[in-house]
């Protein structure tokens, strides 16, 4: 029983990493010229990378909070003899793991953002 739950958690973490990686890759590919423009205007690569990370993590945080809220509401509505509990510390721990998985998923895209050449904004080079 315990190992099944752990496998489910591992699967959720893998999916989180995969979905965030896909999101980050699409975001970086679609907005390459815009990111280059910001680099040309003087934005640091670290600032752009932090922006990408924040945008990738925001849905994770919102999703985790919403999932916690819905689950807590369902537990509250369930009969008292129903054998389920949702300790906040456990939920926060899982949220942390999912965020770490998301951050790992953005790794490749972060590297691409850091390597964007601002000179591409000048045409005819």
């Amino acid at each position: 029983m315990r190992s099944t739950i752990n496998e489910l958690i591992a699967a959720v973490l893998l999916v989180a990493a995969g979905v965030t990686a896909l999101f980050a890759a699409l975001y970086t590919a679609e907005r390459r010229s815009e990111l280059a423009r910001l680099r040309a205007l003087g934005s640091s690569a670290a600032r752009l990378a932090a922006g990408l990370l924040a945008q990738a993590e925001a849905p994770v945080i919102i999703g985790t909070a919403a999932a916690y809220g819905i689950t807590a509401a369902l537990i509250a509505a369930a009969p008292p003899q129903f054998p389920v509990a949702l300790p906040l510390t456990r939920a926060l721990g899982l949220a942390g793991l999912i965020m770490a998985a998301g951050a790992a998923g953005t790794g490749l895209s972060l590297l691409r953002v850091l390597r964007i050449d601002p000179a591409i904004t000048v045409e005819d080079l």
């Binding site: 934005s43 601002p118 000179a119 000048v122 080079l125």
Partner: protein, 238 residues
């Protein structure tokens, strides 16, 4: 009484840049030297592929030359590490790109505030400057419009306002009139010249159009990577 010239705001010495290697290499700039004084707008003219955009990109800290130095306000831009070059672009350089490069989902005012934020200008000061600049460039009432709702000339003026909000030492304009007709193009280059003079900053206008170049105080030609301060041409167009 002596008629002393102010010290150059921009000084390029022996700047060379080659793209590619061996047989496929192309020398974009070959030992370019140039000085620009505060309050002076120079036009860099030349055919497509002559090296003028490379010159602009090097002055703006977007490219590093293979040889030579670029000093802006006494700082050797070519010696700056990557992070410091980004800071240099954010604080010392105002860019007006050929394709404007306004952020499409930000309003005219927000485009200016974004630049101010990159330059580290505090919010209240940035908002005050943005309002004043947009009004000065006849964009009052268009502050909340997205770039897509503005005409080509209005977008160009927003791009100029964005390039000026952080009070740069150097204004770089890369073919800013390429998508405009002659009348609107001359209005834009005239506006650039006026801003450079009034703010006493150095300005560079890259163009292939001599009618636009004539708005500048001086014309410099780039042909096959070589820079020539063409006195005859200057005399003809002015």
């Amino acid at each position: 009484m002596t008629d002393e010239q102010p010290a150059p705001a921009v000084r390029l010495q022996g700047v060379s840049k080659t793209y590619g290697r061996d047989r496929t290499s192309v020398a974009a700039l070959r030992g370019a030297s140039l000085e620009i004084r505060p309050g002076e707008l120079i036009a860099v003219a030349g055919p497509s592929g002559s090296g003028k955009s490379t010159l602009l990109a090097i002055m703006g800290g977007l490219l590093t030359p293979d040889q030579g130095t670029v000093e802006v306000g006494g700082t050797d831009v070519t010696a700056l590490p990557r992070g410091a070059r980004a800071r240099y672009r954010a604080t010392k350089v105002g860019f007006v790109f050929q394709s404007l490069n306004l952020v499409p989902f930000l309003t005219a005012r927000e485009n200016l505030l974004l630049m101010a934020s990159l330059a580290g200008i505090p919010g209240p000061q940035a908002r005050q400057r943005a309002g004043a600049l947009l009004a000065e460039l006849n964009l009052a009432g268009r502050e909340r419009d997205l770039p897509g709702k503005l005409s080509g000339g209005e977008q160009q003026r927003v791009a100029i306002a964005r390039a000026l909000i952080h009070q740069p030492a150097l204004l770089l304009a890369d073919e800013p009139t390429a998508s405009l007709d002659t009348e609107r193009g001359l209005a834009v280059t005239g506006l650039l010249a006026r801003q450079v003079h009034e703010r006493n900053i150095a300005g560079v206008l890259v163009t292939h159009d001599l009618r636009m170049a004539a708005t500048a105080d001086r014309i410099v030609r780039v042909i096959d990577g070589l820079l020539t301060d063409n006195e005859t041409l200057n005399a003809e167009v002015h």
